[in-house]
Structure formats: C-alpha cells, structure tokens
C-alpha cells in the first residue's frame, strides 16, 4: 500500500512525513546521513579519499605533477579540480564530455578552493618561474544519491590532507629537478572547508543532506560552505523557493555546527591512518 502511494504521489507521500517532522528514511529534518571517510586507499595516487554520505559515494584521487608556473604568477602552482559524473553512478548521466551538472560541480569546487584558501598556491612553487606542482584533483562519483557537493568537498579536503609530496631539489649543474621518493612531506593545509546542503520543501520545510529523491521533489536547494573560524566561504542558492534573511541565518548556524561534526570525524580518520 505505502509503496504504491509513494509511486503515484511522491510529493504527498513526503508531505505526510514532513508534517510529523521526520523523513521516510527515518531521519529528522536536520539530521545527516551516516558519513564514512576512508583515506589513502588508492596507492597509485599521491593522495586519495573515499567519502560516503549514506549511499552517495565520491572518490577523490590527487596526482601531483611538474609543470611551468603560470606566466602572470611565477611563484604559484596549480590546483585543478574536476568532477566526473559517469553513467556508472546514475543512469541519468550520459557518457562523453562533462554535462552541465558536472561542470557546475567542478566550478563549485574550484570556487571553494579559491575562496577558502585551503592551501597557499605559493606553497606549490618549487623554483620561481621555472617549476611548480600541479595537483590534479579528480572527483569521481561512484554512486549518485543526492547531495553531491557536500560529499565532494569532504572528499577533496580529506584527499588533500592525505597528499604526500616527494622532496625536490634543483641540481645546480644541470638545472634539472631531482626527486627523492624516499622523503615525502604533507601539504600545508591552512583551512578545511565543509559544505552543508539544504533542500526546501513547499517553501516551508528545510531539510539537510537531501537524497536524490528529495532533491528532485524539493522546491529549492542551498549549499553553504564554512571554515573552522565560522566564516562562510561559498554560498550557492540556485533560484527556487525564496528564503527570508532570518531563515538563511538558521541555515548558516546549522552549517557551522555541521562543520564541527565533520572536522572531528576527519581528524579521527587521519589520525588513525597515521598511527597504523
């Protein structure tokens, strides 16, 4: 009976739950799905992380390579994020070049990196004007179940904190780089931004961490990225239900508290990897 009702009137089905302040999967309105983080599982990458928010799974692999620094900023390196949504994660995506959602997600991640100053791009420079690191951060969605942006941001930060770069010396005779694979050092991570996404139902109910189903039924979406000082790095609300400034403040305070949860989890996971 319930299953049939859900198929025929999905929105009405959700409303019945929301009236009781809970959701079909048993969560409260401001409750996140279980967050799982696994770092360093890909040994071919210089840093990697697998993040799961319930069913939504994102893997981030970072490979560091040498390149020439940009001409307009000879003392900087590059971070190049790319979000890949393949048909593997959901049948709604087609093979081929990235579609709109993937492009928007890539831009969002690039914005988060620029705005929050996760790392100083100057740290990625090896020899001024000659050699710099480029960090290719590839985020691949393995299972798409809503709230892609939150999962991507956690995966990116976890993978960046997992990166170990080999030490490089520039030989004075030849001018070529010499890489010592035996001595590796982590990146200097200054900030760890965390994203919190909300979905608005019928202009009234605000729920966090929407699933794929909830995202399609919702009338508005909102993502807020905060850093550890409680500052906002990126806010993104693409249209949808209008929000009053007061409701926006409520969302911001939830985002700040969510940041603490994720931060604690990240620290625990990275510590456990170190002690192994």
């Amino acid at each position: 009976m319930a299953a049939g009702f859900k198929t025929v009137e999905p929105l009405e089905y959700y409303r019945k739950f929301l009236k009781q302040n809970c959701r079909p999967d048993g969560r409260e309105l401001s409750e996140f799905r279980t967050t799982t983080i696994n770092v360093g599982s890909i040994t071919t990458a210089d840093g990697s992380a697998l993040v799961k928010l319930g069913n939504c799974t994102v893997m981030c692999g970072i490979k560091a390579e040498f390149t020439n620094p940009p001409i307009d900023a000879p003392n900087k390196g590059y971070i190049v994020p790319n979000v890949d949504l393949t048909p593997l994660c959901s049948s709604r995506f087609r093979p081929g070049p990235p579609g709109e959602e993937a492009q928007v997600a890539s831009q969002f991640i690039a914005d988060v990196i620029d705005n929050s100053q996760i790392i100083q791009k100057e740290d990625l420079c090896i020899a001024k004007g000659k050699l710099a690191w480029v960090l290719h951060c590839d985020l691949i969605c393995l299972d798409y179940d809503g709230n892609l942006l939150d999962a991507c941001v956690i995966a990116l930060v976890a993978a960046l904190r997992n990166v170990r770069l080999p030490s490089v010396q520039i030989s004075e005779d030849t001018g070529l780089a010499q890489v010592q694979l035996s001595s590796k050092s982590p990146l200097n991570i200054l900030k760890s931004p965390v994203s919190t996404s909300f979905a608005v139902f019928d202009d009234t109910y605000i729920i966090v961490d929407p699933t794929d189903e909830e995202e399609t039924l919702a009338t508005g979406l909102l993502s807020i990225v905060t850093d550890e000082d409680g500052k906002l790095c990126t806010m993104r609300k693409p249209g949808g239900s209008a929000l009053s400034p007061e409701r926006l403040q409520d969302c911001i305070s939830r985002a700040v508290s969510r940041h603490k949860e994720v931060q604690t989890l990240l620290d625990e996971v990275l510590l456990s990897v170190k002690t192994q």
Partner: protein
C-alpha cells in the same frame, strides 16, 4: 585538457615527477607467491544503490568497480532480434602508477575484449530491441585490470538478473622477457616486462570466450599458458559464486517467523 572549455583550466602540459626520480632497484622475479599463484581477492556484488546490478573486485592492489544499467529500450534498427550489449571500460585518471592521464582514458581494445567475452555468456536473444549497458571503472591498476574487469562485469550482470549461460571469469598471465617462466595474475611491473595473455572462461561449460595475446608466443608455451589461465579462472569461480549468493540473500529479506 587544453582547449576543453568544459573543464577547469589547468596548465597546458605537465610531467610525472617519477621521470626525475632516482630509479629504485626493481626486485627480479616474484617474491611472496609462486608463479601459478594468484593474489588475494576481495569480491562484493550488489553494492551500488541505483544500478540494476553492480560488483566490486579487488585483486592485490587492483580495484575495479562495475555497474549495469538496463535492459532498456533501444530504438535501433528494426530488424534486430537480439538485444545489444554496450561496454565501457575506463581507467580513472589517478589509477596508474605513472603519469596522470586526463579525463578517464578509455582503451578501445580492452573495451572490445570485455564486450566479446561477455556477449558469449549472455542470452541476448531474450532481450529483443533492448540495450544492456556495462560501465566498468578501474580505480587502481596494479596489473591484470582487464581480467578483473571481465569477472567484475559478469558478476554485475548476474547481480542484475540478466539471463546468462554462465559467469565469465577472467585471468591474466605474463612471461618475463629473459626468463621463460609463466606468471599467473601479474602485477603492473610484471605486466610491462614482456608478453602477456588475457583469457576469459565460462567455467561451468569449460569454454573460452575471449583471448587477447600480446608479444611473442610459441606453440608449446602458449598451450601451457592457456591451461594455466584456465586453472586460474577455475580457482576464482567459487569466490564469485559465493559473493553472488550473499548478494542475493541480502536482497531477499529473511523469512519472518510465524508469530502467534
């Protein structure tokens, strides 16, 4: 990728730092396991929430994830009575030990072997004018990724409930350039060393559905190699069966004891 306006712009070109590294001494010969001994395997079926069927295989360091979508309508040529199988095998940009390769590189030859190996096992005539799609992604390639992808894809198809004659199991083998020793389930350094062979087997029927050789092979050694691959497949077969049983049990809820 330079010139691609649909991705975040990076530098035009970059090189792997490994090119500038002092090369480490590669250990000669295999350590820790025998020539005919495959690496430890972890298999799990039915782990993705949205796909019709899915499977994950980890063999040594090699990690392959596979999802199946369909059968869905395919508006292709009207006279086609059989269903169509679509295979897409990709390597994640960070999956190989060497250089970063932009945008999930795809290998045609590998995808073709995957498709041909699987087609032989499926009853495609039961799906007229429909399309089954297999999406395989190599997350980490530590050698023998192609045979792992074959086993993984077949398991995902079985998990999706597609009608088939048998599971397809893949095995890889390499022969060093100088030594004539055959090594089953080579890792990435062994794979580069010399001639390689990839074989797909339908174990219950004992039929070979795919074979891909590269490098020089002679009559006697190739027969021995095929036999060795087939043995490797037979060893993996029960592991795949078990994971399939487990996945099916998870899907079907346990019978509720009659109350009252």
């Amino acid at each position: 990728m330079p010139g691609d306006s649909r991705r975040v712009r990076g530098p035009e070109e970059s090189q792997s730092p490994l090119l500038y590294a002092v090369p480490a001494q590669l250990p000669v010969g295999r350590t820790g396991r025998g020539a005919g001994e495959p690496r430890a395997v972890f298999v799990r079926a039915g782990l993705l929430s949205h796909a019709a069927g899915s499977a994950y295989i980890e063999a040594g360091g090699t990690k392959v994830l596979c999802a199946v979508s369909g059968p869905r309508e395919w508006g292709g040529a009207g006279g086609e009575r059989r269903g169509r199988l679509l295979c897409d095998l990709r390597w994640a940009p960070f999956s190989r030990a060497g250089a970063w390769s932009s945008s999930a590189a795809s290998s045609r030859q590998a995808g073709l072997l995957l498709q041909e190996s699987l087609e032989a096992s499926l009853r495609l005539e039961r799906y007229p004018r429909a399309e089954l799609a297999v999406w395989a992604l190599v997350l980490e390639d530590r050698g023998s990724a192609l045979p792992a992808a074959v086993s993984c894809a077949s398991l995902a198809l079985a998990d999706a409930g597609v009608e088939m004659y048998d599971l397809v199991v893949g095995a890889g083998l390499s022969r060093g350039a100088e030594g004539e020793e055959l090594r089953l389930d080579p890792d990435d350094s062994e794979e580069e060393a010399g001639a390689t062979m990839y074989l797909s087997l339908l174990p219950a029927l004992n039929q070979v559905s795919g074979l891909l050789c590269s490098g020089e092979w002679e009559g006697d050694t190739s027969v021995a190699a095929v036999r060795m691959c087939m043995e490797g497949c037979q060893r993996l077969y029960p592991v795949l069966q078990q994971s399939l049983v487990k996945a099916t049990k998870r899907k079907i809820p346990a019978p509720q004891p009659q109350s009252g």
